[in-house]
């Protein structure tokens, strides 16, 4: 009996072991970059192209060039936005992660607080060619002020107003709006059957948070005081958010269906297919081309301002500093190679090639010499980024902030879409709830 029991167990455990090794060996590659004879860096790239396969196609030639230059191999993994933050969390909490990775620049302060990323001290900056090469606006969104940043910008973006030229002409609008009252007046003219003044992405939390930030800033509002304490339901913030949500709620220049839009593509598609005449968007050239709208059909101008806001100073804000940063994971065993890679990715030729493919803006000034970045559209974005874009609040709870404010706006849009009034009170109560959630979370 004993023999047979042991035999059975032995059979089972061998089977398990066999299967396990079979499985693991076919899995190959465990990811972590161990630097033996030939150095290999693991690089987590965010999904910037139209698909992950597209990203691989864009990045591979550059990575090959890097390997040729330095002899360092790069193991590329493109991670969808759905999973990127969770993967980073897992890496941070376990200490096992990639060597170099992309992060959304609005996460900078939050990720900085974890202490799991290599601080880019002035020494480190020197190693990658100095901080003066970078656009100052983009460099501002790499961490909390006064602390060494946790990365450098690699792709830069900003918001602008996209408008459909033919529709403007048909409605007799000669110049694009520069204030919100003009914007709403034009939007009303442009709204008729099957066509709306503007398309918004009402259920997309980050998008909502970005707009809430900009619109509030124009009213002189701010979501955090100087000590980093949340101050959500100020009259300025409420006024700013009301202007934005009212596009749907009161002005009726946005399609109620937009309240459901959540994946960052529907609003662009509506604009491209002539269902909406305007949109407030980050560099959308690539997507618009994909949807069959040629650059000659639309115009790009800076986002309008509040009627009250000054032409300069702190309320002169018409965009967030949007973009992607390149960070080095603190647990890397290949720090020097990683920094070489950062230097390469932010070098002039690489910046030109990658940003051209992705339709984003270079984060280093010397890349703008390329004719691709001399077009009027790019000039608009470049100007915004240089003079009137503000970084999202650089607080450790920034990531939570985006979620709770974005959710508040999503709920307000849902109200607006179903015909419920959106009032100062309803905005205030949403903001109040969001703030309590944030505080309890911190």
């Amino acid at each position: 009996m004993r023999r047979s029991a042991l035999l059975a167990l032995a059979v089972c455990s061998t089977a398990t072991a066999l299967l396990a090794t079979g499985c693991s060996s076919s899995g190959s590659n465990s990811g972590g970059g161990s630097g033996s004879s030939q150095q290999t860096l693991t690089y987590w790239a965010s999904d910037q192209g139209s698909s992950i396969a597209d990203d691989v196609q864009v990045l591979t030639p550059e990575l090959n060039a890097f390997t040729k230059q330095t002899g360092i191999k790069v193991h590329l993994e493109v991670i969808g936005w759905n999973d990127l933050l969770n993967r980073i969390m897992a890496a941070v909490s376990s200490g096992q992660g990639p060597d170099v990775l992309n992060i959304g620049n609005t996460w900078s302060a939050s990720l900085q607080a974890t202490g799991a990323f290599l601080p880019f001290t002035s020494d480190v900056m020197q190693q990658i060619g100095g901080s003066s090469r970078f656009l100052p606006g983009a460099l501002a969104a790499t961490g909390a002020p006064g602390k060494p940043p946790v990365g450098v910008p690699i792709y830069s973006m900003a918001y602008a107003l996209y408008y459909n030229k033919a529709m403007f002409q048909a409605a007799g609008i000669t110049t694009p709006p520069t204030t919100w009252s003009e914007f709403v007046a034009d939007g009303t003219k442009l709204t008729k059957s099957g066509q709306w003044g503007v398309s918004v992405e009402g259920a997309q939390t980050p998008e909502n948070a970005h707009h809430a930030f900009t619109f509030a800033a124009q009213q002189g509002g701010s979501f955090f005081d100087s000590s980093g304490k949340p101050t959500f339901d100020t009259p300025q913030n409420i006024a700013g958010i009301k202007t934005y949500v009212d596009f749907m709620a009161a002005d009726k220049i946005a399609n109620p269906s937009d309240a459901e839009y959540s994946n960052g593509t529907e609003a662009v598609k509506d604009f491209a297919t002539g269902k909406a005449a305007m949109m407030l968007w980050q560099d959308a050239g690539q997507d618009l081309t994909n949807y069959g709208m040629s650059p000659s059909q639309y115009g790009v101008v800076p986002v309008p301002f509040a009627d009250t806001s000054a032409t300069s100073g702190p309320t002169h804000v018409d965009s967030i500093v949007a973009g992607i940063n390149l960070s080095v994971f603190g647990g890397t065993k290949n720090k020097d190679a990683a920094l070489k890679f950062v230097k390469f990715m932010t070098s002039q030729p690489t910046q030109i090639a990658l940003n051209k493919s992705y339709g984003s803006l270079p984060s280093v000034s010397d890349a703008y010499t390329d004719p691709a970045f001399q077009t009027p559209t790019v000039k608009v974005f470049q100007n915004v980024l240089a003079s009137s874009a503000a970084p999202m609040p650089a607080v450790a709870t920034e990531s939570q902030f985006e979620t709770v404010i974005g959710t508040a706006l999503k709920n307000l849009f849902a109200d607006a879409a179903s015909g419920k009034p959106v009032t100062d009170q309803s905005i205030a109560s949403q903001l109040d709830q969001a703030q309590q959630q944030l505080q309890a979370g911190g």
Binding site: A20, C23, S26, G31, A53, N82, R87, A90, Q96, E266
Partner: protein, 300 residues
Amino acid sequence: MSDAASALRGNRRRRRSPRSPMAPPPAFLWTRRIVLTLLGLFTFVPLYVMVTGSLKPLQDVQSAFQWIPQHLTLRPYIDIWSTVPLGHYFVNSLIVSTCSTVVSVLIAILAAYAVSRYRFPGRQLFSVTVLSTQMFPGILFLLPLFLIYVNIGTATGVQLSNTLLGLVITYLTFTLPFSIWMLVGYFDSIPRELDEAAKVDGNGPIGALVRVIIPAAVPGIVTVAVYSFMTAWGEVLFASVMTDDSTRTLAVGLRNYASQNDVYWNQIMAASLVVSVPVVVAFLLLQRYLVAGLTAGSVK
């Protein structure tokens, strides 16, 4: 069912109606027709949407829904393979699901045999623990489990994070509680006399398990295997954190794919169908066993 009863039923069948001992009243027949038709439609509509959606050009899935497709195209089925390396993910999913199913079933058989045939201290504790693991929300395992895997990796050199092995272990454990519980029920329904007979023939307990119990429990084992396979095949959350691009599974691939191109509904539907077909076919082929397996297993 006794022989007499079945004979009786057989006679009646021939004599009266093709249904039951007593011809059901018309009200029953009408209820049956109506309810089953409605349920049939409820089941049908999403499946119909999936199939037709996958055959429509992008233009058509993005405009108002058409019951009858205006244009048909196979393009989505071609496009899905190039957008995401579905083929590679397919192989990964197959390996992970098969491995975790086989191991899970083996382990569950041993454990269920112990619980069903022996009374020992700790038996109750084991059962309760197994049951309660079903109640802890899976999301919360995610980080601790990842941490544990990484620590095992650093301590012993056995890489569990980002490998298929780690995923296999995770999944086989997900399905263990249900499998053990199902098999205990099934084993309980197998008469002890069979064990005794096997012992009289000179078999030890393991011999009895292998020669008598397992052959008698095939439907239960198939049920458990199908359940395990389906769970592993469709799991997304853990796979999304515990795999990298060389070990990614189909379900995560599908999700990644959908998340970035959410408006390409035709491709999403096509990819969903491709992902579903293997499990659905397997499930339906083995359905006969499932009914038999659950019959004994769920009743005890």
